[in-house]
Protein backbone atom coordinates (compact mmCIF):
# COMPACT_ATOMS: atom_id res chain seq x y z
CA UNK A 1 0.00 0.00 0.00
CA UNK A 2 1.56 3.32 -0.94
CA UNK A 3 3.09 5.23 1.89
CA UNK A 4 1.69 8.64 1.34
CA UNK A 5 -1.84 7.52 2.08
CA UNK A 6 -4.18 10.44 1.66
CA UNK A 7 -7.57 10.67 3.32
CA UNK A 8 -9.89 13.43 2.22
CA UNK A 9 -12.09 13.82 5.30
CA UNK A 10 -15.18 15.84 4.54
CA UNK A 11 -13.80 19.17 3.43
CA UNK A 12 -10.45 18.80 5.24
CA UNK A 13 -7.32 17.05 3.99
CA UNK A 14 -5.06 14.97 6.19
CA UNK A 15 -1.98 13.78 4.36
CA UNK A 16 -0.44 11.11 6.56
CA UNK A 17 3.24 10.03 6.77
CA UNK A 18 6.14 10.84 4.46
CA UNK A 19 5.42 14.46 3.29
CA UNK A 20 7.41 15.48 0.23
CA UNK A 21 10.90 16.20 1.53
CA UNK A 22 11.50 19.48 -0.33
CA UNK A 23 8.41 21.18 1.13
CA UNK A 24 9.36 20.18 4.67
CA UNK A 25 12.85 21.61 4.22
CA UNK A 26 11.43 24.84 2.80
CA UNK A 27 9.15 25.29 5.80
CA UNK A 28 12.01 24.62 8.25
CA UNK A 29 14.09 27.35 6.61
CA UNK A 30 11.15 29.77 6.76
CA UNK A 31 10.68 29.17 10.48
CA UNK A 32 14.42 29.58 11.23
CA UNK A 33 14.50 32.83 9.26
CA UNK A 34 11.42 34.06 11.11
CA UNK A 35 13.01 33.20 14.48
CA UNK A 36 16.21 35.07 13.65
CA UNK A 37 14.24 38.05 12.36
CA UNK A 38 12.12 38.35 15.49
CA UNK A 39 15.19 37.88 17.66
CA UNK A 40 17.14 40.53 15.75
CA UNK A 41 14.31 43.07 15.76
CA UNK A 42 13.43 42.31 19.38
CA UNK A 43 16.89 42.74 20.79
CA UNK A 44 17.80 45.83 18.76
CA UNK A 45 14.40 47.40 19.39
CA UNK A 46 15.96 49.72 21.97
CA UNK A 47 17.70 51.61 19.14
CA UNK A 48 14.67 52.36 16.96
CA UNK A 49 11.75 51.90 19.37
CA UNK A 50 13.20 54.04 22.12
CA UNK A 51 12.47 51.62 24.95
CA UNK A 52 13.73 47.98 24.98
CA UNK A 53 11.08 45.26 24.92
CA UNK A 54 10.56 43.66 28.35
CA UNK A 55 12.15 40.25 27.85
CA UNK A 56 13.56 40.06 24.35
CA UNK A 57 15.03 43.51 24.56
CA UNK A 58 17.64 42.51 27.10
CA UNK A 59 19.36 39.72 25.17
CA UNK A 60 22.10 40.37 22.60
CA UNK A 61 21.07 40.26 18.93
CA UNK A 62 21.94 37.39 16.58
CA UNK A 63 24.35 39.55 14.60
CA UNK A 64 26.24 40.40 17.81
CA UNK A 65 26.32 36.73 18.77
CA UNK A 66 27.41 35.79 15.23
CA UNK A 67 30.38 38.14 15.13
CA UNK A 68 31.51 37.14 18.63
CA UNK A 69 31.28 33.48 17.71
CA UNK A 70 33.34 33.96 14.54
CA UNK A 71 35.96 35.72 16.59
CA UNK A 72 35.92 32.99 19.24
CA UNK A 73 36.42 30.25 16.68
CA UNK A 74 40.00 31.44 16.39
CA UNK A 75 40.51 31.51 20.17
CA UNK A 76 42.38 28.61 21.85
CA UNK A 77 40.57 28.78 25.18
CA UNK A 78 37.16 28.57 23.48
CA UNK A 79 38.15 25.16 22.10
CA UNK A 80 39.86 24.48 25.44
CA UNK A 81 36.45 24.73 27.10
CA UNK A 82 35.02 22.31 24.52
CA UNK A 83 37.85 19.88 25.24
CA UNK A 84 37.44 20.11 29.03
CA UNK A 85 33.70 19.53 28.95
CA UNK A 86 33.87 16.73 26.39
CA UNK A 87 36.60 15.00 28.40
CA UNK A 88 34.54 15.21 31.58
CA UNK A 89 31.42 13.92 29.84
CA UNK A 90 33.37 11.08 28.24
CA UNK A 91 35.00 10.01 31.54
CA UNK A 92 31.87 10.30 33.69
CA UNK A 93 29.64 8.67 31.06
CA UNK A 94 31.98 5.74 30.32
CA UNK A 95 32.41 5.09 34.04
CA UNK A 96 28.62 5.13 34.46
CA UNK A 97 28.32 2.68 31.55
CA UNK A 98 31.03 0.30 32.82
CA UNK A 99 29.52 0.26 36.33
CA UNK A 100 25.84 0.75 35.49
CA UNK A 101 25.34 -2.01 32.91
CA UNK A 102 26.85 -4.85 34.98
CA UNK A 103 25.08 -3.57 38.10
CA UNK A 104 21.75 -3.43 36.22
CA UNK A 105 22.25 -6.93 34.79
CA UNK A 106 23.27 -8.24 38.22
CA UNK A 107 20.09 -6.83 39.77
CA UNK A 108 18.04 -8.22 36.87
CA UNK A 109 19.36 -11.76 37.20
CA UNK A 110 19.97 -12.08 40.97
CA UNK A 111 16.78 -11.92 43.03
CA UNK A 112 18.56 -11.45 46.36
CA UNK A 113 20.73 -8.57 45.08
CA UNK A 114 17.60 -6.96 43.65
CA UNK A 115 15.79 -7.35 46.96
CA UNK A 116 18.52 -5.61 48.91
CA UNK A 117 19.92 -2.99 46.52
CA UNK A 118 16.89 -1.91 44.51
CA UNK A 119 14.95 -0.27 47.39
CA UNK A 120 18.03 1.79 48.32
CA UNK A 121 18.57 2.65 44.66
CA UNK A 122 14.97 3.80 44.34
CA UNK A 123 15.20 5.74 47.61
CA UNK A 124 18.17 7.81 46.43
CA UNK A 125 16.90 8.27 42.88
CA UNK A 126 14.54 11.24 43.52
CA UNK A 127 17.47 13.31 44.82
CA UNK A 128 18.51 15.33 41.72
CA UNK A 129 22.19 14.67 40.79
CA UNK A 130 23.08 18.33 41.27
CA UNK A 131 22.09 18.20 44.93
CA UNK A 132 25.15 15.95 45.32
CA UNK A 133 27.56 18.67 44.06
CA UNK A 134 28.37 20.22 47.48
CA UNK A 135 28.72 16.77 49.10
CA UNK A 136 30.94 15.67 46.20
CA UNK A 137 33.17 18.73 46.57
CA UNK A 138 33.62 17.98 50.25
CA UNK A 139 34.28 14.31 49.71
CA UNK A 140 36.56 14.24 46.69
CA UNK A 141 40.07 15.70 46.94
CA UNK A 142 40.15 17.46 43.58
CA UNK A 143 37.69 19.65 41.69
CA UNK A 144 37.88 17.34 38.70
CA UNK A 145 36.92 14.24 40.63
CA UNK A 146 33.93 15.89 42.27
CA UNK A 147 32.50 17.04 38.94
CA UNK A 148 33.16 13.60 37.39
CA UNK A 149 31.39 11.88 40.31
CA UNK A 150 28.24 13.97 39.84
CA UNK A 151 28.26 13.32 36.10
CA UNK A 152 28.65 9.62 36.84
CA UNK A 153 25.61 9.74 39.12
CA UNK A 154 23.45 11.48 36.51
CA UNK A 155 24.08 8.86 33.83
CA UNK A 156 24.26 5.89 36.25
CA UNK A 157 20.60 6.13 37.34
CA UNK A 158 19.30 6.31 33.77
CA UNK A 159 21.41 3.39 32.54
CA UNK A 160 20.53 1.10 35.44
CA UNK A 161 16.79 1.90 35.16
CA UNK A 162 16.80 1.15 31.43
CA UNK A 163 18.82 -2.06 31.80
CA UNK A 164 16.40 -3.29 34.50
CA UNK A 165 13.41 -2.34 32.34
CA UNK A 166 14.91 -4.10 29.32
CA UNK A 167 15.69 -7.28 31.28
CA UNK A 168 12.15 -7.43 32.67
CA UNK A 169 10.67 -7.02 29.16
CA UNK A 170 12.45 -10.11 27.73
CA UNK A 171 9.91 -12.59 26.27
CA UNK A 172 9.98 -15.57 28.67
CA UNK A 173 9.65 -17.93 25.70
CA UNK A 174 13.14 -16.95 24.48
CA UNK A 175 14.66 -18.09 27.78
CA UNK A 176 12.44 -21.17 28.04
CA UNK A 177 13.31 -22.31 24.53
CA UNK A 178 17.01 -21.92 25.35
CA UNK A 179 16.58 -24.04 28.48
CA UNK A 180 14.64 -26.63 26.54
CA UNK A 181 17.57 -26.78 24.10
CA UNK A 182 19.85 -27.59 27.05
CA UNK A 183 21.62 -24.24 27.50
CA UNK A 184 23.41 -23.63 30.82
CA UNK A 185 22.69 -20.54 32.95
CA UNK A 186 25.83 -18.83 31.65
CA UNK A 187 24.98 -19.56 28.02
CA UNK A 188 21.45 -18.24 28.56
CA UNK A 189 22.91 -15.04 30.05
CA UNK A 190 25.62 -14.52 27.44
CA UNK A 191 23.67 -15.42 24.31
CA UNK A 192 20.06 -14.57 25.27
CA UNK A 193 19.72 -12.10 28.14
CA UNK A 194 22.56 -9.74 27.18
CA UNK A 195 21.67 -9.34 23.48
CA UNK A 196 17.99 -8.97 24.42
CA UNK A 197 18.84 -6.15 26.85
CA UNK A 198 21.22 -4.42 24.39
CA UNK A 199 18.52 -2.22 22.79
CA UNK A 200 17.46 -0.81 26.17
CA UNK A 201 21.12 -0.24 27.05
CA UNK A 202 21.37 1.98 23.97
CA UNK A 203 18.20 3.84 24.94
CA UNK A 204 19.70 4.35 28.41
CA UNK A 205 22.92 5.60 26.82
CA UNK A 206 21.13 8.10 24.59
CA UNK A 207 19.09 9.54 27.47
CA UNK A 208 22.08 9.25 29.83
CA UNK A 209 24.40 11.26 27.59
CA UNK A 210 21.77 14.02 27.43
CA UNK A 211 21.59 14.16 31.23
CA UNK A 212 25.41 14.05 31.44
CA UNK A 213 25.58 17.30 29.43
CA UNK A 214 22.97 18.88 31.70
CA UNK A 215 24.99 17.90 34.76
CA UNK A 216 28.44 18.87 33.42
CA UNK A 217 27.26 22.39 32.64
CA UNK A 218 25.73 22.81 36.10
CA UNK A 219 28.67 21.22 37.94
CA UNK A 220 31.12 23.47 36.09
CA UNK A 221 29.01 26.53 36.83
CA UNK A 222 28.46 25.74 40.49
CA UNK A 223 31.89 24.45 41.43
CA UNK A 224 33.94 26.33 38.79
CA UNK A 225 32.10 29.58 39.27
CA UNK A 226 31.98 29.16 43.00
CA UNK A 227 35.57 28.76 44.07
CA UNK A 228 37.08 30.41 41.01
CA UNK A 229 39.23 27.36 40.21
CA UNK A 230 40.55 27.26 36.67
CA UNK A 231 38.41 24.18 35.92
CA UNK A 232 37.38 25.46 32.48
CA UNK A 233 34.71 23.79 30.40
CA UNK A 234 31.75 25.23 28.54
CA UNK A 235 29.67 25.55 31.74
CA UNK A 236 32.36 27.68 33.32
CA UNK A 237 32.79 29.57 30.03
CA UNK A 238 29.10 30.60 30.12
CA UNK A 239 29.19 31.54 33.79
CA UNK A 240 32.41 33.48 33.30
CA UNK A 241 30.94 35.35 30.31
CA UNK A 242 27.91 36.26 32.45
CA UNK A 243 30.07 37.44 35.36
CA UNK A 244 32.38 39.27 32.93
CA UNK A 245 29.35 40.99 31.36
CA UNK A 246 30.03 39.83 27.75
CA UNK A 247 26.48 38.64 27.11
CA UNK A 248 26.80 37.52 23.47
CA UNK A 249 29.36 34.93 24.64
CA UNK A 250 26.69 33.45 26.92
CA UNK A 251 24.56 32.60 23.90
CA UNK A 252 27.62 31.30 22.03
CA UNK A 253 28.27 29.03 24.99
CA UNK A 254 24.61 27.87 25.08
CA UNK A 255 24.51 27.02 21.37
CA UNK A 256 27.92 25.30 21.60
CA UNK A 257 26.71 22.99 24.38
CA UNK A 258 23.49 22.38 22.44
CA UNK A 259 25.57 21.28 19.44
CA UNK A 260 27.89 19.18 21.63
CA UNK A 261 24.88 17.45 23.23
CA UNK A 262 23.26 16.84 19.84
CA UNK A 263 26.51 15.43 18.38
CA UNK A 264 27.01 13.01 21.27
CA UNK A 265 23.47 11.59 21.12
CA UNK A 266 23.61 11.26 17.35
CA UNK A 267 26.95 9.45 17.75
CA UNK A 268 25.11 6.90 19.90
CA UNK A 269 22.19 6.74 17.45
CA UNK A 270 24.76 6.15 14.68
CA UNK A 271 26.56 3.40 16.64
CA UNK A 272 23.41 1.47 17.66
CA UNK A 273 22.57 -0.20 14.31
CA UNK A 274 26.23 -1.05 13.79
CA UNK A 275 26.43 -2.89 17.08
CA UNK A 276 22.98 -4.44 16.76
CA UNK A 277 23.27 -5.66 13.19
CA UNK A 278 20.04 -7.62 13.38
CA UNK A 279 17.85 -4.57 13.82
Amino acid sequence: MSDSLQIRLVGWRVRLPRPRIDRARRRALVSFALLLLIWELGSTSASWLGTPLPVLGRIPSPTAVGTVWLHLLGQADYWGSWYQSCLRVLLGFTAALLVGVPFGLWLATNRLAHGICFPVFEMLRPIPPLAWVPAAIIFWPTQELSIASVIFLGAFYTIVTNVLGGARAIDARLIQSAQSLGASRWTVFRRIVFPAVLPSIFVGMEVGIGITWEVVVAAEMISGGGSGGASGGLGFFIWNSYVGGSYPQIIVGMLSIGIAGYLSSSAIRWAAPRVMRWR
Binding site: R173, S180, T187, R191, I192
Partner: protein
Protein backbone atom coordinates in the same frame (compact mmCIF):
# COMPACT_ATOMS: atom_id res chain seq x y z
CA UNK B 1 2.48 -26.86 -6.28
CA UNK B 2 3.01 -30.54 -6.67
CA UNK B 3 5.11 -31.55 -3.66
CA UNK B 4 8.28 -33.26 -4.83
CA UNK B 5 7.32 -36.90 -4.44
CA UNK B 6 10.80 -38.38 -4.80
CA UNK B 7 11.79 -39.40 -1.27
CA UNK B 8 15.21 -38.19 -0.20
CA UNK B 9 16.85 -41.40 1.09
CA UNK B 10 20.17 -40.14 2.32
CA UNK B 11 18.74 -38.51 5.43
CA UNK B 12 20.77 -39.33 8.56
CA UNK B 13 18.17 -41.70 9.97
CA UNK B 14 18.13 -44.50 7.39
CA UNK B 15 15.42 -46.87 8.52
CA UNK B 16 11.89 -45.55 9.20
CA UNK B 17 11.87 -47.57 12.46
CA UNK B 18 11.19 -45.56 15.62
CA UNK B 19 14.47 -43.92 16.56
CA UNK B 20 15.81 -45.58 19.71
CA UNK B 21 16.14 -42.10 21.22
CA UNK B 22 12.35 -41.50 21.34
CA UNK B 23 10.64 -41.91 24.74
CA UNK B 24 7.05 -42.26 25.86
CA UNK B 25 5.39 -39.88 28.35
CA UNK B 26 2.76 -40.46 30.99
CA UNK B 27 0.42 -37.77 32.42
CA UNK B 28 -1.31 -38.99 35.59
CA UNK B 29 -4.11 -36.99 37.25
CA UNK B 30 -2.43 -33.65 36.64
CA UNK B 31 -4.08 -30.45 37.92
CA UNK B 32 -2.84 -26.86 37.85
CA UNK B 33 -4.18 -23.73 39.53
CA UNK B 34 -2.75 -20.23 39.90
CA UNK B 35 -2.87 -17.86 42.87
CA UNK B 36 -4.80 -18.68 46.03
CA UNK B 37 -7.40 -17.07 48.19
CA UNK B 38 -9.81 -14.88 46.21
CA UNK B 39 -7.59 -14.93 43.11
CA UNK B 40 -7.44 -18.70 42.72
CA UNK B 41 -7.94 -19.86 39.12
CA UNK B 42 -8.02 -23.54 38.21
CA UNK B 43 -6.64 -24.03 34.69
CA UNK B 44 -6.25 -27.81 34.47
CA UNK B 45 -8.37 -30.31 36.40
CA UNK B 46 -7.48 -34.05 36.71
CA UNK B 47 -5.95 -34.61 33.27
CA UNK B 48 -4.54 -38.06 32.38
CA UNK B 49 -3.26 -39.47 29.08
CA UNK B 50 -0.18 -41.10 27.56
CA UNK B 51 2.10 -40.09 24.68
CA UNK B 52 2.99 -43.31 22.93
CA UNK B 53 6.65 -43.72 22.00
CA UNK B 54 7.32 -42.78 18.37
CA UNK B 55 3.68 -41.81 17.75
CA UNK B 56 2.08 -38.41 17.01
CA UNK B 57 -0.56 -37.33 19.53
CA UNK B 58 -2.56 -34.21 18.63
CA UNK B 59 -4.35 -32.21 21.32
CA UNK B 60 -7.26 -30.03 20.18
CA UNK B 61 -9.59 -27.82 22.25
CA UNK B 62 -11.04 -24.30 22.58
CA UNK B 63 -8.47 -21.48 22.85
CA UNK B 64 -7.78 -20.27 26.37
CA UNK B 65 -8.68 -23.73 27.65
CA UNK B 66 -5.29 -24.40 29.25
CA UNK B 67 -3.45 -26.29 26.50
CA UNK B 68 -0.44 -23.96 26.64
CA UNK B 69 -0.30 -24.36 30.40
CA UNK B 70 -0.21 -28.14 29.99
CA UNK B 71 2.63 -27.75 27.47
CA UNK B 72 4.64 -25.76 30.03
CA UNK B 73 4.00 -28.49 32.63
CA UNK B 74 5.06 -31.24 30.20
CA UNK B 75 8.23 -29.32 29.32
CA UNK B 76 9.13 -28.86 32.98
CA UNK B 77 8.95 -25.07 32.88
CA UNK B 78 6.37 -25.25 35.67
CA UNK B 79 5.44 -27.85 38.26
CA UNK B 80 1.90 -29.33 38.30
CA UNK B 81 -0.19 -28.45 41.38
CA UNK B 82 -1.23 -32.12 41.62
CA UNK B 83 -0.50 -35.42 39.81
CA UNK B 84 2.66 -36.59 38.03
CA UNK B 85 4.28 -36.27 34.61
CA UNK B 86 6.67 -39.08 33.75
CA UNK B 87 9.07 -39.50 30.84
CA UNK B 88 10.12 -43.17 30.46
CA UNK B 89 8.79 -43.74 34.03
CA UNK B 90 10.94 -40.93 35.48
CA UNK B 91 9.46 -37.70 36.91
CA UNK B 92 10.11 -34.80 34.49
CA UNK B 93 12.95 -32.60 35.85
CA UNK B 94 13.87 -29.73 33.56
CA UNK B 95 13.49 -29.37 29.84
CA UNK B 96 17.14 -29.61 28.87
CA UNK B 97 18.47 -32.92 30.19
CA UNK B 98 15.21 -34.79 29.53
CA UNK B 99 15.63 -33.87 25.86
CA UNK B 100 12.12 -32.46 25.84
CA UNK B 101 12.10 -29.86 23.09
CA UNK B 102 9.30 -27.30 22.98
CA UNK B 103 8.57 -25.62 19.69
CA UNK B 104 7.40 -22.14 20.49
CA UNK B 105 6.34 -19.68 17.86
CA UNK B 106 8.52 -16.55 17.53
CA UNK B 107 11.18 -18.05 19.81
CA UNK B 108 13.92 -17.49 17.21
CA UNK B 109 16.68 -15.28 18.64
CA UNK B 110 16.50 -12.07 16.57
CA UNK B 111 20.23 -11.37 17.06
CA UNK B 112 21.42 -14.72 15.71
CA UNK B 113 21.52 -15.67 12.05
CA UNK B 114 19.43 -18.66 10.93
CA UNK B 115 22.47 -20.94 11.14
CA UNK B 116 23.46 -19.71 14.61
CA UNK B 117 19.88 -20.25 15.77
CA UNK B 118 19.87 -23.87 14.61
CA UNK B 119 23.40 -24.42 15.95
CA UNK B 120 22.39 -23.08 19.37
CA UNK B 121 21.03 -26.41 20.72
CA UNK B 122 23.88 -28.74 19.68
CA UNK B 123 26.50 -26.16 20.73
CA UNK B 124 24.80 -25.64 24.12
CA UNK B 125 24.95 -29.39 24.71
CA UNK B 126 28.62 -29.50 23.83
CA UNK B 127 28.31 -31.44 20.57
CA UNK B 128 31.66 -31.30 18.70
CA UNK B 129 31.69 -28.32 16.30
CA UNK B 130 32.33 -30.47 13.24
CA UNK B 131 29.44 -32.91 13.69
CA UNK B 132 27.12 -30.11 14.86
CA UNK B 133 27.81 -28.06 11.73
CA UNK B 134 27.31 -31.10 9.50
CA UNK B 135 23.97 -31.94 11.11
CA UNK B 136 22.84 -28.29 10.86
CA UNK B 137 23.79 -28.05 7.20
CA UNK B 138 21.78 -31.17 6.52
CA UNK B 139 18.76 -29.82 8.40
CA UNK B 140 18.91 -26.40 6.75
CA UNK B 141 19.01 -28.07 3.36
CA UNK B 142 16.06 -30.28 4.30
CA UNK B 143 13.90 -27.33 5.42
CA UNK B 144 14.90 -25.43 2.26
CA UNK B 145 16.73 -22.64 4.09
CA UNK B 146 20.27 -23.51 2.95
CA UNK B 147 20.36 -20.27 0.96
CA UNK B 148 19.22 -18.20 3.94
CA UNK B 149 21.86 -19.43 6.42
CA UNK B 150 23.22 -16.03 7.45
CA UNK B 151 19.98 -14.07 7.19
CA UNK B 152 18.51 -12.67 10.44
CA UNK B 153 14.97 -13.72 11.54
CA UNK B 154 13.68 -10.21 10.73
CA UNK B 155 14.61 -10.89 7.07
CA UNK B 156 12.63 -14.15 6.84
CA UNK B 157 8.97 -14.53 5.93
CA UNK B 158 6.47 -16.14 8.34
CA UNK B 159 6.72 -19.56 6.71
CA UNK B 160 10.51 -19.47 6.65
CA UNK B 161 10.66 -18.53 10.35
CA UNK B 162 8.53 -21.54 11.25
CA UNK B 163 10.77 -23.85 9.27
CA UNK B 164 13.86 -22.38 10.93
CA UNK B 165 12.24 -23.02 14.34
CA UNK B 166 11.46 -26.57 13.21
CA UNK B 167 15.07 -27.15 12.15
CA UNK B 168 16.31 -25.79 15.49
CA UNK B 169 14.04 -28.15 17.41
CA UNK B 170 15.06 -31.17 15.33
CA UNK B 171 18.78 -30.31 15.61
CA UNK B 172 18.66 -31.62 19.19
CA UNK B 173 17.43 -35.14 18.42
CA UNK B 174 14.58 -34.64 20.90
CA UNK B 175 13.20 -37.58 22.87
CA UNK B 176 9.79 -35.85 22.79
CA UNK B 177 8.86 -32.94 20.57
CA UNK B 178 6.10 -30.68 21.87
CA UNK B 179 4.64 -28.21 19.36
CA UNK B 180 2.25 -25.53 20.69
CA UNK B 181 0.16 -24.29 17.70
CA UNK B 182 3.34 -23.90 15.58
CA UNK B 183 1.55 -22.66 12.43
CA UNK B 184 -0.61 -20.05 14.10
CA UNK B 185 -0.57 -16.65 12.39
CA UNK B 186 0.43 -18.04 8.99
CA UNK B 187 -1.96 -17.38 6.12
CA UNK B 188 -4.08 -20.38 5.14
CA UNK B 189 -2.02 -21.11 2.04
CA UNK B 190 1.34 -21.32 3.84
CA UNK B 191 -0.29 -23.15 6.73
CA UNK B 192 -1.57 -25.99 4.50
CA UNK B 193 1.84 -26.29 2.81
CA UNK B 194 3.57 -26.39 6.23
CA UNK B 195 1.20 -29.06 7.58
CA UNK B 196 1.82 -31.39 4.67
CA UNK B 197 5.49 -30.68 4.84
CA UNK B 198 5.55 -31.50 8.56
CA UNK B 199 3.60 -34.71 7.95
CA UNK B 200 6.45 -35.92 5.75
CA UNK B 201 9.03 -34.83 8.32
CA UNK B 202 7.29 -36.97 10.99
CA UNK B 203 7.50 -39.92 8.62
CA UNK B 204 11.26 -39.68 8.61
CA UNK B 205 12.11 -38.78 12.20
CA UNK B 206 9.58 -41.13 13.92
CA UNK B 207 10.20 -39.46 17.29
CA UNK B 208 7.40 -38.91 19.86
CA UNK B 209 5.34 -35.79 19.07
CA UNK B 210 2.68 -33.84 20.95
CA UNK B 211 1.05 -31.40 18.54
CA UNK B 212 -1.31 -28.75 20.02
CA UNK B 213 -3.74 -27.05 17.62
CA UNK B 214 -7.25 -25.66 17.15
CA UNK B 215 -7.41 -26.73 13.45
CA UNK B 216 -9.25 -30.00 12.84
CA UNK B 217 -7.73 -30.56 9.39
CA UNK B 218 -4.21 -30.21 10.81
CA UNK B 219 -5.09 -32.73 13.51
CA UNK B 220 -6.33 -35.36 11.07
CA UNK B 221 -3.40 -35.01 8.67
CA UNK B 222 -0.81 -35.41 11.46
CA UNK B 223 -2.32 -37.49 14.26
CA UNK B 224 -2.05 -41.17 15.20
CA UNK B 225 -4.37 -40.21 18.10
CA UNK B 226 -6.47 -37.06 18.74
CA UNK B 227 -7.11 -35.89 22.33
CA UNK B 228 -10.15 -33.57 22.47
CA UNK B 229 -9.87 -31.27 25.49
CA UNK B 230 -12.62 -29.35 27.32
CA UNK B 231 -12.89 -25.63 28.00
CA UNK B 232 -11.32 -24.27 31.21
CA UNK B 233 -10.75 -25.95 33.64
CA UNK B 234 -9.29 -28.32 31.07
CA UNK B 235 -9.84 -32.07 31.16
CA UNK B 236 -9.75 -34.83 28.57
CA UNK B 237 -13.12 -35.37 26.86
CA UNK B 238 -12.33 -37.99 24.25
CA UNK B 239 -9.39 -39.97 22.78
CA UNK B 240 -9.97 -40.68 19.06
CA UNK B 241 -7.55 -42.99 17.18
CA UNK B 242 -6.75 -41.95 13.58
CA UNK B 243 -5.58 -44.94 11.56
CA UNK B 244 -5.49 -43.44 8.05
CA UNK B 245 -2.64 -44.61 5.80
CA UNK B 246 0.43 -42.37 5.69
CA UNK B 247 1.65 -40.19 4.02
CA UNK B 248 -1.55 -38.15 4.20
CA UNK B 249 -2.44 -34.90 2.38
CA UNK B 250 -4.87 -32.15 3.21
CA UNK B 251 -6.86 -32.95 0.09
CA UNK B 252 -7.25 -36.53 1.42
CA UNK B 253 -8.96 -35.08 4.49
CA UNK B 254 -11.43 -33.32 2.21
CA UNK B 255 -12.01 -36.33 -0.11
CA UNK B 256 -11.72 -39.36 2.21
CA UNK B 257 -14.94 -40.46 3.95
CA UNK B 258 -13.23 -42.00 6.99
CA UNK B 259 -11.39 -38.73 7.57
CA UNK B 260 -14.64 -36.77 7.25
CA UNK B 261 -16.34 -38.92 9.89
CA UNK B 262 -13.54 -38.26 12.33
CA UNK B 263 -13.68 -34.56 11.45
CA UNK B 264 -17.43 -34.41 12.09
CA UNK B 265 -17.08 -36.14 15.47
CA UNK B 266 -14.30 -33.78 16.58
CA UNK B 267 -16.20 -30.68 15.39
CA UNK B 268 -19.34 -31.72 17.27
CA UNK B 269 -17.43 -32.34 20.52
CA UNK B 270 -15.63 -29.01 20.28
CA UNK B 271 -18.76 -27.05 19.38
CA UNK B 272 -20.47 -28.38 22.48
CA UNK B 273 -17.50 -27.26 24.56
CA UNK B 274 -17.25 -23.84 22.93
CA UNK B 275 -20.94 -23.18 23.46
CA UNK B 276 -20.36 -23.70 27.16
CA UNK B 277 -17.26 -21.49 27.08
CA UNK B 278 -19.35 -18.65 25.70
CA UNK B 279 -21.43 -19.15 28.84
CA UNK B 280 -24.72 -19.12 27.03
CA UNK B 281 -24.35 -15.35 26.38
CA UNK B 282 -24.71 -16.19 22.78
CA UNK B 283 -28.52 -16.15 22.91
CA UNK B 284 -28.44 -14.63 19.45
CA UNK B 285 -26.39 -17.47 18.07
CA UNK B 286 -28.08 -20.62 16.87
CA UNK B 287 -26.54 -23.50 18.82
CA UNK B 288 -25.39 -26.17 16.43
CA UNK B 289 -25.08 -29.91 16.55
Amino acid sequence: MEMNKKKQKNFVNKDPEITNLASGMEVQGVAKYYGDGPLRRTVIEDCSFTLERGKVTVMIGPSGGGKSTLVRLLAGFEKPSAGHILIDDREVQRAGPDRLVVFQETALYPWMSTEENVLFGPKAQGVAAGTARARVDELLRRVGLAGFRDKYPAQLSGGMKRRAELARALANDPAVMILDEPFRGLDAMTRSLMVEYYAELIEETRTTHLFVTTDVDEAIVLADRILVMSHRPMRLISDIPVDLPRPRHLLDVIANNKASDIKRRVIELIHLEVMRSFGGRTSGMKSTG
